[in-house]
């Protein structure tokens, strides 16, 4: 088990969970659950080769915890979060990582404990609406993040996506597009 919490600097409302050399293809978000887009060759797929996690925050800091386990979590915590979605990733290579192209990337654990996959990825988010609202102001690099994500990953057979909870306005806006 390895776990770390960092301030991830996101841009374009997103960070990635990317394996080695994914097939990027085009970008078609049809059928997107609004939180974690599990993509294969640019289309929503289960499993995906990599994932884009959408943040309400446009450009700025988001508090992100990555918790890599070798066993599934015993229960789903929906009370403390606005949105909770689980998907499967089957990434090529052995370098799966959470990344937003910033230095904080380095402080997050890799997925070694859960190798070789496929992986089940559960993303929890809260404060995305506040993040989106704050993004309408000029960006203040010193401001505390108003948005928080928890990513739990563990090895598991491929399964369909599970939307445990989907309540924030930001995600509803994405699903409506």
């Amino acid at each position: 088990m390895s776990k770390a919490t960092v301030r991830l600097e996101v841009s374009a409302h997103q960070y990635w969970i990317a394996g080695d050399v994914p097939e990027f293809g085009g970008w078609d978000y049809s059928g997107f659950n609004g939180l974690i887009a599990s993509l294969d060759a640019g289309r929503i797929a289960h499993p995906g080769q990599f994932a884009v996690v959408m943040t309400g925050t446009d450009t700025g800091g988001v508090t992100v915890t990555l918790d890599v386990r070798n066993q599934p979590p015993e229960q789903v915590d929906t009370d403390a979060w606005d949105d909770v979605v689980e998907i499967s990733l089957d990434c090529p290579g052995e370098y799966l990582a959470v990344t937003s192209d910033c230095e904080a990337d380095e402080e997050l654990p890799d997925f070694t404990d859960a190798q070789p996959g496929p992986f089940r990825i559960r993303v929890h988010a809260r404060g995305r609406d506040a993040g989106e609202e704050a993004s309408l102001n000029d960006i203040d690099g010193d401001a505390e993040p108003v948005e928080e994500h928890l990513v739990i990953a563990w090895p598991a057979p491929v399964a369909p996506e599970t939307i445990h909870k989907a309540t924030d306005r930001f995600g509803a806006g994405i699903r409506a597009r």
Binding site: E9, S11, A12, H13, Q14, W16, A18, G19, D20, V21, F24, G26, W27, Y29, F50, V52, M54, D58, T59, G60, G93, Y95, L96, A97, T99, D101, C102, E103, D105, E106, S135, L136, N137, D138, I139, G141, G173, I174, R177
Partner: protein
């Protein structure tokens, strides 16, 4: 095509310049430290001045080098190496040859390779029957393994050809290097004349999180083409690249590439300049403020003058896709902090 002529990419200093192109053979000088004699060669693939280089590159049969992000191919004009008799530095013969090289890098591997061919065009004097060898090397974490024949007896029509394999062991960083070559013509009892040159600079790195290490030629600025698929964003880019009196910033062929930055300070400053709060709040429903040059570049609004930056309202979905396209491009081309690239729309 990302092929570009050498003259725009490689400083002349990167290529070993040993004497002038037209210098007579008798001007060969022994190095007082090593006793080695440098062959009176021009740089391997170019003439001395930019204008000469341009002319040479345009003429048929001229020396040429084309460089992409993933390698280079090069062909020299006829060169020659003299065989020298000391102490009078008397030239007793010559070997004339053409050199061809083709190096292939891999953005997903630290192993890369090249083929190198020396074609002997003619020989004279004691150059006939002399031996020729080429020894490649690279430095730091890079190692070169040559499968070239160790040496070859020189007669007209002789060809020395083979493969050179390179491996870089860089870890958690980036290693800038180039391949170095020494060509020697020798004969027992005479002094070898050596010709030295270098490949274009390459870089191997293990800095792209989530991807294995790989190598590129960083001077070869790649072109992002996927913005064409986002109509609103593409139009905004077109407007700025084609603005009257502007630089054509980021446009292929403009000579004004964009420069990637990983600085969040620069990114925020660009974003706050191009899309300040009052602009973002005025966005129509379903639209958001998009800027060009991108916030993740040194040429962004905070460091630019009108008309070389601008914003437009584009569908939110386009902006989300743009983030993916841009990051995919940075990963695939191994565009690190400070690397240049162009945007074609």
């Amino acid at each position: 095509m990302r092929t570009t002529r050498l003259k725009t990419l490689i400083p002349a200093a990167l290529l070993a310049v040993v004497g002038g192109l037209l210098a007579p053979a008798s001007s060969a000088q022994a190095d007082p430290n090593t006793g080695q004699i440098a062959a009176p060669q021009g740089p391997m693939y170019t003439n001395g001045t930019p204008s000469l280089r341009a002319r040479a590159a345009a003429a048929p049969g001229a020396p040429s080098i084309s460089i992409t992000r993933n390698g280079f191919t090069a062909e020299s004009v006829e060169k020659h190496s003299p065989l020298i008799r000391l102490p009078q530095k008397e030239v007793v013969g010559n070997v004339y040859y053409k050199l061809k090289q083709s190096m292939t890098l891999d953005t997903k591997s630290l192993d890369f390779w090249e083929t190198l061919t020396v074609e002997v065009t003619r020989t004279d004097g004691l150059g006939t029957g002399a031996t020729l060898s080429v020894t490649p090397s690279c430095g730091g974490t890079c190692t070169a393994r040559s499968s070239l024949p160790k040496s070859m007896s020189m007669t007209p029509g002789a060809v020395l050809t083979g493969r050179i394999d390179y491996t870089d062991a860089v870890s958690r960083g980036a290693h800038d290097d180039s391949a170095k070559y020494v060509l020697e013509v020798s004969r027992p009892g005479f002094t070898a004349a050596s010709t030295r040159w270098e490949s274009p600079a390459f870089r191997c790195d293990d800095q792209v999180k989530g991807m294995r290490a790989g190598c590129v030629i960083p001077e070869a600025a790649p072109t992002l083409t996927t913005m064409k698929q986002l109509p609103g964003i593409a139009q905004n880019i077109r407007n700025i690249q084609n603005a009257p009196g502007g630089l054509g910033i980021g446009k292929p062929g403009s000579g004004h590439p964009l420069t990637r930055t990983t600085s969040t300070v620069v990114e925020r400053a660009n974003r706050n300049t191009a899309c300040p709060a009052r602009v973002k709040k005025a966005a129509p429903s379903g639209m958001s403020c998009d800027e060009y040059p991108f916030a993740k570049t040194m040429e962004g609004a905070a460091n630019a003058q009108k008309p070389n930056w601008g914003f437009a309202y584009v569908p939110v979905s386009e902006q989300n896709s743009q983030g993916g396209y841009l990051r995919a491009f940075f990963m695939q081309e191994r565009i690190l902090d400070g690397d240049s690239f162009y945007v074609e729309v």
